[in-house]
């Protein structure tokens, strides 16, 4: 860039609309703040200077579900929290994705008891599970990049069906 722009000599790139849209989606994916337990600390440090998730176009953690595409469920979901989580998920605009971060969100973790939902996939559909207790920021970033790979392969026809 730069010189070519000045010279007005940009050339032409051909691609499919799907690829362009999916590329745009992966590079500006705004996650919603959903820190529920200790995993939230790792999520914060993944956002902060040392790991800096904004390298992947995710510099904005949105406190409002209406402005976000991705819900990172970081921590254990109690049965009392589950309806709230579902409601926030329903308020997010399509298309939307969910990452279950950590063992508790993925399968209940060590909390096999009456109070904790045994995996957030009982409440919302999950795209990527990140293992670890809690997962390190690298693991979360790996989960995010895995989600990007998934999003890049999405077809308009499938989205229309859903």
């Amino acid at each position: 860039m730069g010189v070519e722009q000045k010279l007005g000599n940009m050339g032409v790139v051909t691609t499919t609309l799907e690829t362009a849209v999916n590329w745009a989606r992966t590079n500006a994916m705004w996650p919603m703040l959903f820190g529920l337990a200790c995993c939230a600390i790792e999520m914060m440090s993944a956002q902060a200077a040392n790991y800096d998730m904004s390298r992947f176009g995710m510099e904005l953690m949105r406190p409002s579900p209406r402005q976000s595409d991705l819900m990172i469920v970081a921590g254990r979901v109690s049965r009392k929290m589950a309806p709230v989580l579902r409601r926030l998920y329903d308020q997010m605009p399509e298309p939307k994705w969910v990452i279950a971060m950590g063992d508790c969100a993925s399968c209940g973790g060590v909390f096999n008891n009456y109070a904790i939902v045994q995996g957030v996939d009982e409440v919302v559909p999950v795209d990527v599970y990140v293992a670890g207790c809690p997962p390190r920021p690298e693991a979360l970033i790996h989960g995010v990049v895995t989600l990007f790979e998934k999003v890049k392969g999405e077809k308009f026809a499938d989205l229309a069906k859903a």
Binding site: K80, R86, N113, Y114, Q118, E122, V123, P125
Partner: protein, 170 residues
Amino acid sequence: MDTRLEKIVKVLQEKANATYEEFRDEVHVFINAGQIVDALTFLRDEHQFSLLSAMTAVDYWPEESPRFHVIYQLTSLTQNLSIQLRVLVNGDQPKVPTATRVFEVANWREREIMDMFGIDFDGHPDPRRILMPEDWEGHPLRKDYPLGYEEPQFTFNFEEIDLRKPYAKE
């Protein structure tokens, strides 16, 4: 036992027909449910036990009957003393008179005991669940309440359990 506590316990024994136990310098006074409000008022007004520092319950099922102990831990800040009152109750929905008129702080503590153990407090101003969802069935801290519901998945039964798991749809 502290000599100041000895006097108090003696009065409680005479007035409220109480018994007591000592364990590692802690005094546990057992009182009938009917006399607990009077005992709390007596300790607060005449012996400066102005702080209800803890209020909880224990389920001793199936070892003991009556199965529930409702526990009031009182602290006197002026005398640096602490005393524990216990009320023994039994049955499915036992009733204990509320302590909210003596100690305001008992309001939420009693709601928690009601929620977790199913012990009702007669005359409580706001008898709702405090921790569990309102439509919850059962009382989780009772010893006969099931611990969990999910079977652990191993490689040999992974798919079998996976079929039964209630996954969310879109």
